[in-house]
């Protein structure tokens, strides 16, 4: 009995539960219902580029991009500080950083409602200080904030992981050769941290583009990102063909970006999940 047979139950399972669903998705995306006949067509994909829908796609990409940028901009220093050697109780800090991630994702998003509402905590404080209340909820700002809040640990952790593995003697060698701390960072630490940055960007941008919970809870009923669009098509409108087409497109975007980034990660050692 060959050892490789052990994998066949799994393969069987995956074919049924992953491959076939995928084919169904593709099938629906490439077909249109014309009365009771089904015809092959690109129409579903073309629809996505109509102004109404394209705006949604564009907005999703832009917001995800902005969130990723802020996650990077705000998160990189955290990773840098934590990876620096002069830190007692580092493990505790990392644990504290990870802790919110273990909270239910919905609850974390919901939490901002209390803070951002018209009569929420932030506005209450502002009014008390004599300032005008701000419109913080149900707009791009709230959604972006929600994305950054939810995903920033996914940016910090890969960068931290890479940075903490940078050999200390490289920093010393750079100093020895005349580099002051700024030069050490720019010429040695930063270039060596880039694989982690790339990981982080990937782990933030992907879910940010396809989220529908954040946009529903913090953007409101009228606020539509690509994730909401897909949900609508399936559950409300009933246009499975269009919904599938959008899904397929999302899948393609993400798989292509992953293939792209994995080329740069060739030099990384084999990565487990922890």
């Amino acid at each position: 009995m060959k050892k490789t047979w052990a994998a066949w139950p799994y393969v069987f399972w995956m074919v049924i539960f992953t491959v076939i669903p995928l084919f169904l998705l593709l099938y629906f995306s490439f077909t249109v219902k014309d009365g009771s006949t089904v015809a092959f067509s690109f129409a579903n994909f073309q629809r996505l580029f109509e102004p109404v829908y394209f705006k949604v796609l564009f907005r999703s990409l832009v917001l995800a991009g902005i969130s990723t940028f802020f996650c990077l901009f705000l998160g990189y220093p955290v990773a840098f500080i934590l990876a620096g050697r002069s830190f007692r109780r580092k493990n505790t800090m990392i644990l504290l950083l990870v802790l919110p991630m273990w909270m239910n994702f919905l609850l974390r998003t919901y939490a901002w409602l209390t803070l951002l509402e018209r009569k929420g905590l932030i506005n209450t404080v502002l009014v008390h200080l004599g300032l005008q209340p701000l419109n913080l909820l149900y707009n791009d700002f709230a959604v972006t904030l929600g994305m950054v809040y939810n995903f920033i640990p996914f940016m910090i952790l890969p960068i931290y992981s890479v940075m903490s593995k940078i050999d200390r003697s490289l920093v010393e060698a750079a100093e020895d050769l005349g580099a002051n701390p700024l030069a050490v960072f720019w010429r040695v630490t930063f270039p060596l941290s880039l694989p982690g940055v790339l990981s982080g960007i990937t782990m933030v941008f992907m879910p940010a583009v396809t989220t529908f919970v954040i946009s529903r809870l913090l953007g409101g009923g009228q606020y539509t990102l690509i994730g909401n669009l897909i949900e609508q098509q399936f559950l409300t409108v009933g246009d499975w063909n269009f919904g599938s087409a959008i899904s397929v497109l999302m899948m393609l975007i993400i798989l292509v970006s992953m293939a792209f980034t994995s080329r740069y990660e060739k030099e990384q050692e084999g990565s487990g999940l922890w």
Partner: protein, 344 residues
């Protein structure tokens, strides 16, 4: 040129280095030698600026440089594991220090070329660090340090990861380089043979303190205490009693020796090198005993002779088989007397 004055270094309550006083001259090849944990690397790192002394002063050309950060010192280091920058190729690694100083490209090209020639790796500019062997990486590390024309080069056990033949070749190359460039080398190793081969001055350290400083010959021939004697080369170390100048008693015999200046009845350590003990006819020997074991070491035979309750180690190119009765003889000049070391 460099003076260490009463240098001590503490880490979390343990004293790694205690009261080091050292003077290093220009163009000197000085080696700090000792077992793991003796403080030699810590001392080196303090000279380089990677550790700050807890007490004491480091004086460089008359100036106290205790608080000076590494990038401001006229010192460069070759690290134990080379610390080559993996994201830069050979050229950029070597040129790193010059890039920092914003030297113009033409000059850098020239200097890098010359450096690669010096370390016999011309043409390797575009190679990646990963594609180099250990020996090659080490030479790039040396080139990277030397291109900055430091007054002092610090080397932290740089040959540790190389195989024996390569290590011996590199030892001679480094010595030649030092003579040719005329700069001070401060070298750290735990390999006593390496230290004896390369150095002008050897500083033997143990447990954070300097045990003895001197030329390789002096350290070898006149070890100052049992530790140095035991660490450098093989020795027979036996306890003895000095009965006045030139007269020592050990292993039950009164023997003439060549040392003086000890107190009467002072308990001392007697050191005799294995190659200085000659095997003779039992009748002619100072001691008589039986050969316990013989081991062929290539360069010589190592024999253990049990005589007067002590196992003596003999190195000789002549073999005496186990079980044979022999006499042992030694010239007074080769009997070294050392003060007993106070254990701390």
């Amino acid at each position: 040129m460099i003076r260490l004055v009463n240098i001590s270094k503490q880490f979390d309550g343990t004293e790694a280095v205690k009261n080091i006083n050292l003077h290093i001259s220009k163009n000197e090849f000085l080696t700090m030698l000792g077992p793991s944990g003796c403080g030699k690397t810590t001392t080196l790192r303090m000279i380089g600026g990677f550790e700050y002394p807890t007490t004491g002063e480091i004086i460089f050309d008359g100036v106290n440089i205790n608080a000076l950060p590494p990038y401001k010192r006229k010192v460069n280091t070759v690290f134990q594991k080379y610390a080559l920058f993996p994201h830069l190729n050979v050229y950029d690694n070597i040129a790193f220090g010059l890039h920092i100083k914003k030297v113009e490209k033409k000059t850098i090209d020239e200097k890098v070329g010359r450096m690669l020639e010096l370390v016999s790796l011309s043409g390797y500019e575009r190679r990646s660090v990963y594609s180099l062997s250990g020996g090659q990486q080490q030479r790039i590390a040396i080139a990277r340090a030397l291109i900055n024309e430091p007054e002092v080069l610090l080397l932290d056990e740089p040959l540790g990861a190389l195989d024996l033949k390569l290590r011996k070749d590199m030892q001679l190359e480094l010595k030649a380089m030092q003579k040719q460039l005329g700069i001070t080398f401060i070298y750290v190793t735990h390999d006593q043979e390496e230290a004896l081969t390369m150095s002008d001055t050897v500083v033997v350290m143990n447990r954070g303190r300097i045990q003895q400083t001197g030329t390789p010959e002096a350290i070898y021939n006149e070890p100052i205490n049992a530790f140095v004697a035991g660490f450098i080369g093989e020795s027979n170390i036996v306890e003895g009693i000095m009965h006045g100048d030139f007269h020592v008693e050990f292993a039950g015999k009164h023997v003439e020796c060549s040392d003086q200046g000890f107190a009467a009845q002072e308990v001392v350590d007697v050191v005799i090198r294995p190659e200085d003990l000659k095997m003779v006819e039992p009748a002619d020997g100072l001691f008589t005993g039986v050969v316990k074991s013989v081991t062929f070491k290539g360069v010589h035979y190592e024999m253990i002779v049990a005589a007067h309750g002590i196992d003596w180690m003999i190195h000789s190119t002549r073999m005496r088989p186990a079980g044979m009765n022999v006499g042992l003889k030694v010239v007074p000049f080769d009997i070294h007397i050392m003060k007993k070391v106070m254990e701390e």
